[in-house]
């Protein structure tokens, strides 16, 4: 495809997205909660589309399609299991939301630090998240690089593609924080699902309809079964799906969104919208990847599948451009979410405690006092400055081009798995301690890092398996050996539960702390 068409598509996207971002601003954000969480007032539909756009990134149409191309229907099982992980949202969504309302959390790692009464726990989990999310952001940039270079037949280089993506991501994130991200997300999600559906329907029709499509696949050994031709062995499947099932609570850029809805009704709408979107989008993407598998047998890498198919004669030019733009938008919205979350975590959970300790931000009570304003303002500034730093680091990692996008994404998420035991423990186990959190994250994180860096499959299993086993056992053992913040844990857990009918004997969450002054 001629490169000039591609640049035209990019230009149209930039204009529309900038307009949406600027229009979504409502004055300058003065507070962390406003900038990073849209003041906890995000409505159901926008939240649902934004949540969908955050989780379903360039990973889908490039990464998942590529995985389908390489391994067949196993990729469908993999991605549908991810969607089944929404059950965790069912269990943890209201709990995150309630404690977010009660304690004013802006980041999930802040919640961990507060719940376990330890700044160090908050900082450790924040830094671990940065470590493992930068590669995840990087594969989004790489996705755009493959897309633009693949579609233009190399006329646009991988470097040019990733540079464009990086610059746009920084600009959109800086304009208005989460609110601009949420609105551009919603736009992108709608464009993506509509254009992807259209293009798949078109291609299937051209290939002779669903019947022919499945007949041809049946003749391709391994396309419709597992382990098929051997790509998706059971241990591979397990290694890929485990980090994916816990994604919604292990990935902070996604779990942070649980603080944003204005009410439980909005949270529910967010969840239902996400489920519908996710199911449709997954089916479309896998069918798309299987189509590429039928039509182009000799691609160098699975990640070439989508660009090749989009630029082929099977897809009309305008639709191909629209889908391409949609994928770009998906990648950039995901990067933005990651950057926003990481920057909020660095400024809130690493910078702020350090600044307080050094005495530079002495007044830390309500944000209404002038001193409170400037402390919050400084946090916000640090948060904004961190954004380009993260983007540049991701850009550097993207150029390593280590493996298939799907595989790299899962590796990054395997590292984040180590935070799952402390998060589950926060809501269900009073005995968890800060020491347990810190040691489990450090030990298990190091194990995952080592296994990934050396490409080792210990006992034939993936890094995520060992990561979660190590994290769980270390967390439990160390917690049992140290003292737990029992009363505080009790308050937190009560705050996370649904409120009982008035007149019941069980006290409401905040009451004990106030009545007895025992909150410490």
């Amino acid at each position: 495809m001629d490169a000039s068409w591609i640049w035209l598509g990019v230009a149209i996207y930039v204009v529309i997205a900038l307009a949406a971002a600027v229009l979504s601003r409502r004055g300058t954000s003065r507070t962390m909660s406003d900038y990073f969480l849209g003041s906890r007032r995000m409505g159901g539909f926008v939240s649902a589309m934004s949540y969908s756009a955050t989780t379903y990134s360039a990973f889908m149409m490039i990464g998942l399609a590529g995985l389908t191309y390489a391994g067949g229907v196993g990729a469908l099982g993999f991605e549908l299991l991810y969607l089944c992980g929404v059950t965790l949202m069912l269990i943890f969504g209201p709990r995150f939301w309630r404690v977010g309302q009660a304690y004013g959390y802006v980041t999930p790692t802040e919640m961990i630090g507060h719940r376990y009464r330890s700044k160090a726990a908050g900082a450790t989990t924040a830094l671990a998240s940065c470590l493992f999310l930068i590669p995840y952001a990087a594969v989004q940039l790489a996705g755009v690089g493959y897309l633009l270079s693949g579609m233009s037949g190399g006329a646009i280089t991988f470097t040019q593609g990733t540079t464009v993506a990086t610059v746009l991501a920084i600009i959109f994130a800086m304009i208005a924080g989460l609110r601009s991200v949420a609105w551009t997300d919603s736009l992108q999600a709608v464009v993506m699902i509509v254009s992807a559906s259209l293009v798949v329907i078109l291609v299937i029709r051209q290939l002779g309809g669903l019947g022919t499509f499945f007949d041809r696949l049946a003749a391709d050994p391994g396309a419709l079964s597992v382990p098929g031709t051997g790509y998706f062995t059971f241990s591979t499947f397990l290694a890929l799906t485990l980090p994916w099932i816990f994604f919604m609570i292990s990935n902070p850029q996604v779990s942070q969104r649980l603080y944003t809805p204005g009410s439980l009704r909005d949270l529910r709408r967010m969840m239902l919208g996400f489920m519908a979107f996710g199911f449709i989008y997954t089916m479309i993407t896998v069918v798309w990847g299987l189509t590429a598998r039928l039509e182009f047998q000799d691609l160098a890498s699975g990640d070439q599948a989508t660009p090749t198919l989009l630029a082929s004669g099977l897809v009309p030019l305008p639709l191909g451009i629209i889908v391409m733009v949609g994928i770009m938008a998906a990648a950039i919205s995901t990067i933005d979410s990651i950057m926003l979350t990481l920057s909020s975590m660095v400024s809130r959970d690493v910078y702020a405690p350090a600044a307080r300790r050094l005495g530079s931000d002495e007044h830390t009570s309500a944000a209404d006092t002038p001193a409170g304003h400037s402390a919050e303002g400084r946090q916000l500034l640090v948060g904004k400055l961190v954004i380009p730093v993260i983007a540049v680091l991701a850009y550097g990692f993207a150029h390593l081009q280590l493996d298939l996008i799907a595989v790299l994404s899962v590796s990054a998420s395997a590292g984040l798995l180590v935070m799952v035991p402390p998060i589950i423990g926060a809501f269900f186990w009073k005995r968890g301690t800060a020491a347990g959190v810190i040691t489990s994250v450090l030990v298990a994180g190091a194990i995952v890092l080592y296994l990934e860096a050396t490409s080792t499959r210990f006992l034939g299993q993936g890094s995520g398996v060992w990561g979660i086993l190590a994290a769980t056992s270390v967390f439990i053992l160390v917690s049992l050996a140290t003292r737990a913040p029992a009363e505080h844990a009790e308050d937190f857990i009560k705050a996370s539960r649904r409120r009982r009918k008035a007149g019941s004997t069980e006290p409401t969450p905040a009451a004990p702390a106030i009545a007895t002054g025992s909150q410490r």
Partner: protein, 109 residues
Amino acid sequence: MRGPTGPALWTDDYAAHHRVHCQQRLDSPPVSHFSSSTQAPSVEPSATTPRRVRRWLLAAVAVIIVLMYLVPYTLLSDINAWYGSFLFWTLTTLAVLIINAVLAFGWED
């Protein structure tokens, strides 16, 4: 702007901030900042989805997920057609999503 926007702390200042903040919320009626529906007393679980039913449904989800691992690799591993793993995974996912939707309507409003 009402509502918790100050930085969270883990020192004694936090306790004071939290007490004041929570006391304000308990004392005064909700502002439009929070949807009024969150301030109403919650509905007893039995009025929406009974607790036992909720537990069984969640257990069903766990079982279905385990089956999503086991069945394609055993019973369906030789069926290279659309009605094999493709259909199985699609239907089991729909079942999980429907259960999730049902349970989500049980959240207090």
